[in-house]
């Protein structure tokens, strides 16, 4: 399978849905990715199983505050240059690149890099959604070392990291992002093909394209889209898809704590009937409750869409008065192990509740 310039709008829309409220505005990364594919031609999408065990793969994406890149734009060749800098640092060529986060703009950066360097992209990613911290990535959970890693900034400044654990790496890379104007591109968590296969959420790039196409072709009222979405998710690594609620945003209060947009949104029904719905936000939508009862939690996906069009709404753009629907989607199997849940369950975000898989919650 190939990713072509004309697939990018769908890929990006699917990726915003999977971003569960995080991931930033993909407009500019979309422009850049399309530009790169038009210049260099389509990019080969490689199933993880087709990757040789000794292949050298590196994950690539943007780290920092997506809001900043609305003002200080990235450059078209940032992604390819990051890869070049990585190859120089490790002294060898890369065989393929991979996304660390399918949710939002980071789904597009590996494709942009691969196009500029004539490399294939592995079909899959390290989150299956968007998550705020590097140690929540499947690669990190599977024990992949974050370094050697390379960061590239707006002016072409290159910083290299030799850091044994992902939590430390995350802390360092955040500080660098702030010093570099808020946003950097990184090549990190290098893997062999053999290491990658058990560590990746497979198929999410191709799936995003299909999900985006489905959303576009069936654009309309969210409740009417449910059966179509259930069909699409049933045949994927995700499985369950539920419509949790339709209503209005009657309150949204967030504030920035430690760089995170933390808070809560409250939804009330359109008519007189129905309960009150709340969603906890920490950049992404993390815990959903109906009249106080938990109906979905991270790592399962909680997605808020515009009620009229079914288009996903970013947490930064969610506001009082919007008419929305809330979907929940089961997380990939990878996150069901104890080791993974230690990193991504509600407790990892400071919520004193256990993860109960979506399909085990009675409605």
């Amino acid at each position: 399978m190939q990713v072509r310039a004309e697939d990018i709008a769908d890929l990006s829309l699917g990726a915003v849905f999977l971003a569960t409220g995080g991931g930033g505005d993909p407009h500019v990364p979309e422009l850049i990715c399309i530009e790169a594919l038009k210049t260099h031609g389509a990019v080969e999408l490689l199933a993880p199983d087709d990757l040789p065990n000794d292949a050298h793969v590196v994950s690539i994406g943007g780290v920092g505050a997506p809001t900043v890149s609305l003002e200080m734009l990235p450059s078209v060749d940032d992604a390819a240059r990051t890869l070049e800098a990585y190859e120089q640092h490790v002294g060898r060529k890369v065989d393929a690149v991979v996304s660390f986060e399918i949710g939002g703009a980071n789904s597009l950066i590996p494709i942009t890099a691969a196009a500029g360097r004539g490399l294939p992209v592995v079909d899959g990613d390290g989150m299956g959604r968007a998550l705020p911290e590097a140690q929540m990535m499947t690669y990190a959970i599977a024990g992949v070392c974050p370094s050697p890693a390379v960061a590239y900034d707006y002016a072409g400044n290159i910083t290299t990291f030799t850091t044994p654990d992902t939590s430390t790496y995350e802390r360092h890379i955040r500080s660098l992002a702030m010093a570099s104007g808020g946003m950097i591109t990184t090549a990190e968590h290098p893997m062999t093909g053999a290491e990658l296969k058990p560590a990746i959420i497979p198929g999410t790039v191709g799936f995003s394209v299909m999900l985006g196409r489905t959303l576009r072709e069936n654009r309309g009222r969210a409740d009417q889209m449910l059966p179509v979405l259930q069909d699409v998710f049933a045949g994927s690594v995700y499985g369950e898809c539920r419509l949790l609620y339709c209503g209005k945003v009657s309150d949204k209060a967030t504030r920035i704590i430690g760089g995170y947009d933390i808070g809560e949104a409250t939804l009330t029904p359109f008519g007189d009937e129905g309960g009150q719905f709340t969603i906890n936000i920490k950049n992404e939508y993390l815990v959903a409750r109906l009249d106080g009862k938990v109906v979905a939690t991270v790592p399962d996906l909680i997605v808020i869409v515009d009620y009229e069009t079914g288009m996903p709404i970013n947490a930064e753009r969610l506001r009082y008065g919007q008419r929305v629907a809330v979907f929940a989607v089961g997380c990939p199997e990878f996150f069901r192990t104890k080791r993974a849940l230690d990193a991504v369950a509600p407790r990892a975000f400071g919520f004193d509740i256990d993860f109960v898989p979506l399909e085990k919650i009675a409605i």
């Binding site: 200080m72 060749d77 702030m178």
Partner: protein
């Protein structure tokens, strides 16, 4: 007394207001030259008994001419787009995501220069004098007189835009320059797009303002003239010559503001029912609730704030299914007068339903004899259900809200609406836009990214407020009447604590009128 004029694509409406009272109103066709339509409207208004030119203190004009020029790609001048931001954004020049026809209309004269700053003021790169000189020489050689200058993080540090503009002005003395920071808001491409559209409209703005001035002069009016902006406030003639793009979307805003004035309701839902759609907007404290999405004007993404309007496919010409259970979104539109059943056509429309139910006397009722009473009943229920559902989604909470009905299709509402606490059908609803223009005040707005850890919150907000106030005064506001209408603080995720986007909006009375009252 004030005169409010609304220049729409089809109609030019005018009202004469004394305080809150509508003394006279008129609806005339918009003329091709716009001027004749305005003078005709003024003639009707000024022919009112006991009104003389000297009674008129101000004329307020709302116009869709600038929006239409962009949408129809007319009247647009070539523009040089100068962006200061390299090394960031390399390969993403100005107009990169514009539709081809409008980018061609402006001419794709783009220049990318080194400079600008990071969010915290650290320089992206120093300005390069030779690079600037080369760009200016090229603009001059091409004979381009309209120039938009943008710079990364210019809302926080406008010096690079000012410096480059000064060099352009020195080399091209008659250049007309829009600096992107004066178009507000963070978001480089959207702000730059707004500046580009504005610049391309400057020559047209001169012609429009000259025409307005000539129309007033021809009718012996010497009072000040103002034009409506998209946020429901006014700008004076000089300001329009500099910022014509700020008139975008002033139409729906004036309609909502007019509905507020006509009913005295500050918080309400306004339903404007036309031939094809019902446009539903929300009044909050007397002003339209603003939409939060990126607004595209003629296919160009901009950072303008527009009223949050929900359009439902229900109007006076909407098609009705045989059983009356489904209505719209298809409509016969302006062909209602030939295709509707009561007009001798063979299409069942919503207008036929209300005539059949005996709620209106339009066209020839006898042509509806074949219509089943069940269809009429079901159809009328469908109309009310559609509006109820839509209003319910727009209102801020589950409580019923006052609903104001305006527009020619308001006759469709014959029963009560469940979503409405009270239902209002103001007289003069047909000229709500002109009334909205007439009652407007002068506003000023400023947005900055500030760091509360560097500058205490109170001081930071005061600084942004001062800039908003000075903008309002420049736009013609009376300093002593200025009050803060809105303060919005948005923290920026993934950044250090205290990094906040602050937006302040202030409103004041018109200085020229305030002076007159104290004299």
């Amino acid at each position: 007394m004030r005169i409010g004029i609304d220049v729409g694509g089809t109609h030019t409406d005018a009202v004469l207001l004394s305080g809150s009272e509508v003394i006279a109103s008129t609806k005339a066709l918009t003329s091709a030259d716009v001027l004749t339509g305005i003078t005709n409207a003024l003639d009707t208004i000024l022919s009112e008994d006991g009104v003389s030119q000297s009674d008129i203190e101000a004329v307020m004009i709302g116009t869709t001419q600038f929006t239409n020029a962009v949408v129809e790609r007319r009247e647009l001048s070539p523009v040089a787009a100068v962006r200061i931001g390299l090394p960031s954004g390399n390969g993403l020049p100005p107009m990169v995501d514009w539709p081809d026809d409008i980018a061609d209309a402006l001419g794709r004269h783009t220049y990318m220069l080194k400079g600008g700053t990071l969010y915290d003021g650290w320089p992206l790169a120093p300005l390069d004098g030779d690079e600037i000189d080369a760009a200016v020489a090229d603009i001059k050689a091409k004979g381009i007189k309209n120039i938009a200058v943008s710079s990364v993080f210019s809302p926080m540090n406008a010096a690079p835009e000012r410096d480059v503009a000064a060099k352009i002005q020195a080399a091209i003395p008659d250049a007309r320059i829009t600096l992107s920071f004066s178009m507000g808001r963070l978001g480089l491409m959207e702000r730059e797009n707004a500046a580009l559209l504005n610049t391309s409209l400057l020559a047209f703005a001169d012609r429009v303002v000259d025409a307005f001035t000539a129309a007033l002069k021809a009718r012996g009016l010497t009072c000040p003239m103002y034009v409506s902006q998209n946020d429901g406030t006014l700008m004076n003639a000089d300001f329009v010559r500099q910022f014509p793009a700020l008139t975008f979307a002033s139409g729906p805003t004036n309609s909502l503001r007019g509905a507020c004035k006509l009913t005295g309701l500050m918080d309400a839902i306004v339903v404007d029912i036309g031939g094809t759609t019902s446009d539903i907007g929300v009044l909050e404290s007397g002003f339209p609730r603003e939409s939060n999405v990126v607004i595209s004007v003629g296919g160009v993404r901009t950072n303008f704030r527009m009223p949050d309007i929900m359009a439902v496919g229900l109007g006076g010409g909407s098609l009705v299914s045989d059983d009356g259970a489904s209505i719209g979104p298809r409509s016969v539109g302006h062909r209602l007068v030939t295709e509707g059943l009561v007009f001798g056509g063979d299409t069942l429309t919503t207008t036929d339903l209300i005539v059949a139910a005996g709620h209106a006397d339009i066209g020839d009722r006898s042509r509806l004899s074949g219509l089943s009473p069940d269809t009429v009943t079901a159809g009328n229920q469908t109309i009310h259900r559609m509006l109820d559902d839509a209003i319910d989604m727009m209102k801020p909470n589950a409580d019923p809200v006052p609903v104001i009905l305006v527009g020619g299709g308001a006759v469709l509402v014959t029963g009560g609406l469940k979503a409405a606490s009270t239902l209002h059908r103001p007289v003069n609803a047909g000229v709500a836009n002109a009334i909205g223009a007439a009652i407007a005040q002068i506003g000023g707005e400023c947005e900055r990214l500030v760091s509360y850890s560097e500058l205490p919150r109170d001081e930071a907000i005061a600084k942004v407020k001062d800039e908003a106030i000075s903008r309002a005064i420049n736009a013609g506001a009376d300093a002593s009447t200025i009050r803060v209408a809105d303060i919005e603080e948005t923290a920026i995720p993934y950044m250090d604590e205290g990094n906040t986007r602050v937006r302040v909006k202030v409103i004041g009375d018109i200085a020229a009128l305030a002076k007159k009252e104290t004299e």
